[in-house]
Assembly symmetry: C4
Homo-oligomer: 366 residues x 4
């Protein structure tokens, strides 16, 4: 046990949450997650221009209420890569859930599974894959891969994911170097605990668990060959995550990507980039329904989900809000967050006059 592990005390409650909104949730979470951990989770890169833009850019498009639309009890169910989901909302991959709650990824997995949607597990998970799988039952899980420079390592990690029952590989392509997270620098943040996959395969990390060391053995030169390699080796659908340019979407699909994940890593990588929502329209046009589009970065309300779907996404992923729910309520808190978003989306669907997820996708924003 390291020194940090001894002093970092993550929250431990397990309870359902009565969520008013995600901003309050964040505020409450900031009171109980130790500062270094909270800043790591909540912070963005540089001026946090892109982080802010992720949320505020949703106001560039507005939903026109439709009031004679003959809608009742809107239906949020949808299907993604063959999985039937209660709503077009899945769990984004995010590192080190143990910063938020002592149950680590196990708590998240339980909460996501109880809700019934897809969990994306990060290479930087703080729990062993087998631990999270144990609590998930049949809920589908995707494995998010940060590539190593060494393809043998990549194969080994994919083998582990496959053995654990992952149904898709999410290739994170937008984090080949660490973003400029100034809060982490000021906090001199290091992870207060080990991350099993990282420790097993990326040895530079073991010594001090500093953020920069994660990237020492990680691959920078990601290209379409990597997409092909992972698709072939894993024999699973590969979803390329971090797409912000239409050209990259086309390249990825041409190389065999089964899905496009539009994301700017929650504003944590390249500051000065557009809000993720701003990039969706052109990417959706380029993808032209050939593969599903998953969208993240900035979802805080049902209105945001509605707008993302209306602009071309097939589903959205949420990250930070789930960790805040995990911090405040463990697995039960996680479920509460997903239920909050589903209910909020239903309310928006009713007021916007849309009965189904397909109806949302046909809606023109103004």
């Amino acid at each position: 046990m390291s020194q940090n592990q001894a002093t970092y005390t993550a929250p431990s409650k397990n309870q359902s949450l009565d969520i008013v909104n995600v901003y309050d949730l964040e505020q409450q979470a900031s009171q109980i997650i130790p500062k270094g951990g909270f800043d790591y989770i909540a912070g963005g890169a540089g001026d946090e221009y892109t982080l802010d833009q992720n949320i505020t850019s949703f106001n560039q498009k507005r939903i026109l209420p439709r009031v004679l639309a003959d809608v009742e009890n809107p239906d949020t169910r949808t299907t993604l890569f063959g999985s039937e989901l209660p709503s077009p909302i899945i769990m984004a991959p995010i590192a080190a859930h143990g910063l938020a709650h002592e149950s680590r990824e196990v708590g998240t997995a339980k909460g996501v599974s109880d809700y019934g949607t897809i969990l994306s597990i990060s290479t930087y998970t703080g729990s062993e894959l087998s631990e999270t799988s144990k609590v998930m039952g049949d809920t589908p899980k995707w494995f998010q891969l940060y590539m190593s420079k060494d393809n043998e390592v990549n194969k080994a990690i994919i083998d582990d994911a496959k053995a654990d029952g992952a149904t898709a590989i999410v290739l994170t392509a937008d984090a080949t170097v660490m973003g400029n997270r100034e809060k982490d620098k000021l906090n001199q943040f290091v992870f207060p605990f080990d991350m099993p996959i990282v420790s097993r395969y990326l040895r530079g990390f073991i010594e001090d668990r500093a953020l920069n060391n994660i990237y020492l053995e990680s691959k920078q030169k990601i290209n379409t060959d990597d997409v092909r390699f992972i698709a072939e080796y894993s024999d699973m659908p590969v979803i390329v995550k971090g797409i912000q340019a239409p050209e990259d979407a086309i390249k990825a699909i041409d190389a065999g990507a089964a899905g496009i994940w539009v994301s700017n890593h929650g504003g944590r990588q390249l500051d000065g980039a557009p809000g993720s929502f701003e990039t969706l329209a052109l990417i959706s046009e380029a993808v032209s329904k050939r593969v599903p589009i998953i969208f993240d970065s900035g979802i805080r309300r049902g209105e945001h989900i509605f707008k993302a779907l209306a602009m071309g996404a097939d589903c959205v992923a949420i990250g930070r809000p789930v960790l805040y729910g995990l911090a405040l309520g463990g697995a039960k808190g996680v479920t509460s967050v997903f239920e909050y978003f589903e209910n909020d989306l239903k309310r928006v669907m009713q007021l916007a006059g849309t009965q189904t997820v397909e109806d949302i996708k046909k809606t023109a924003l103004v």
Copy 2:
């Protein structure tokens, strides 16, 4: 008498008000209306983006002063559905006036009647229709309907309104579920008194008077058949309220609506919608003078009334400002609010070089 009723003490003064502006009025009202009630009246949905946009979007269009226009003593009188009004300003339907003043809707009715314009009475009135009618003399009144799932209930309510002498039915179409009013959630707000029509016909409400229960028996699937049904059954003009999309305006008129009420429910329903003023131009074009347009959501100054009329409205409705006047001065305060708006509009008309309401409608904003 319920527990809440015992502890909620609404203001009770009856006095004319010297109004500087509505923002000050709101500030003063917030000092004397109990917090739960004030937040219910003043609050909006979600981020209150749309609530703010309702007011600030008026600045997207500006009035060019015309100074050689040969204008004197501008005339604000107008005619609406055959009623001659002192100004193009009517009372919007709004629930539970008793939150603002112990005289409840009776106080408002007296004040509106003394001013001489149309009163819209809500299904969620806290006074019996007969009580308000008693103080109104010949002043025209409209009845605003929240539909029940059960058409027999709807018929019974329309019968009541007709018996009471209503001259039009305002069908509220934009509130089929409750908006996301976070302040009410935080306040755990329940109505501190009974609402006669609701209690009589919507039984779910009786038990705890919580906001959500109002919607349990209310109709979600509103469509053009409902417009037709109400028009036929009531044999009164039906004005469809909550229109924000040109397509809905056309559908409503084609189904027999006698008027279009452009409104986003004061920013209380779908947050992320445009400011109501922003939707007026296209709706006005779609309506093309076939029926009158009533506009609400955001009117705080004579300039706003002028701009709404110049963009295509035939009259405007005010809601929150009237309840603030009611809180501060009872019936007399209500009259003061209407007189304030009329005088403010006259000043704007003089400075803009417009002699009549028709002149305003011909004015091009810049």
Copy 3:
């Protein structure tokens, strides 16, 4: 002597000022002018949207520095209606200078005259015309007329102005009713002293000197006949002040106006109107150099003067800044304000690469 006169103590220093900028000047003036007087001078109408817009709208156009323009010692001299002026900066008409300084309009007249530019004297002057004339020598002066409903009164006032040596009549057309000055309402502001012309001809004012009473006998129905009447009766150039619409400029010129004064009365009349600078381009195009254009409302820096001239004005008028200078330094302070603006304009001319006022007028903003 009235009660107010006894208690209102205006500043009395006479000294040159070292001006850093006009915002600081305003701040300093607010410390020594009694609150009622300061708010009357500094305030605008309604939300003060237009007041703010007057200043901020200058940023809609930017000056591109020209650095190889072969310019030295820029020359600000210009000619207006035959008067040679040290700069294209004149004194705007403004009521009741006695609010700012015990020397009243006499102090302003002395300061303006020492600088050498045109003084516009208001109908609402607090000094007799003969008093101000005594200190002005040959400096040209214009008389600003607020019309009475009674043309005999108008003739008498014009006779007085003519007898006093005025060289032009400025017809204020944009103040037929009082703007919505909320600060004055809150302060229950009345003028603390008599205004000779008003008292002599507009009797309603005498009793209580309240703002509203000024307008009781003033003319609302101003039209092109009035322009013709004043031009003929006075046999002086008539400049129509308060023009914001191109159509009004054309009407005024067609009726014999010798000049167009673009102004929104310093944001004191119709709030919700554009910034005055925003209206200049279209008016300048409509006027098409047939008569000179004077511009006011929002000038606080040399950059603003430069931009107004580049957009089509022939000269600018300043008002509030002069009263602040008067308050802080009497006649000498007034001269300092004009010198400050001239020097600031020279600096801008040098950096923008313009040698003369004509060069400014030929400059394209970006």
Copy 4:
């Protein structure tokens, strides 16, 4: 030794800096540089609108992350006028480094030289040219000329620069009069020490070292003849600095300029001008690769460098950040600032998917 010299105590530490961002660096520097000096360095002209716009206007263009670009260890090296540089970042000319650190320009020269990029030395240097040269080895240096009215003085200064080994002359054309630096006025700022070249050739300065006196003997009428004269007399490349208009760029090149330096003098000259970044696109188009473009005014992050290069600059110059580094760490602090920017640019290059400086130049911003 003058009185000021006795009392102005500049910082004196020599240490490497761990820089989080330049805004923090500025904040820290403001704590140790005496107020008069700090305000002189940090301040801008007038409302500081242009100063702010210099930074915020970078957000008008955004970088689209490219994630399948096959990039690793991006290469920031570039060549400028034959000098091989570690990055497209050079030192802008800036007056009186002694305000920031007791080592004066000698400290900056050492730090810049250790980093290995070009130093621009100002006519207003506080160190003798020979002192700075001594610590620089072979690092290329440019001499920035403020022209005197007297061409014999200009020749003498150029002779000195040439004797010192300068490889280019930077002609500052945008500072023919002092900008409106209000903080300096309020501080009654005078330079607390002599500046050798100024004192030797511009005698008005000697007496009181006030800012205005610097400009008494400096040349205002700068035109293309001056460009020709300096190019011929010096027989060095002449780079014209302060270009904001495409027309000036063309004039300068036609007169023999070897480079165009796009700058608005850090927002210190003409307030109300566009942000420097906003002018780059049109100038780049006008220059059309005939000569290199150097860009300054507003660079605070690697993102800004990337954007400037993508919009047409060949390299950027930094000024204020270097002086803050000098204040906090002397020569070592200066080197740290350049290393910070290079690393930040590398991070941006990696995330934007660009391997080389040429790749950046081919990138389209959105």
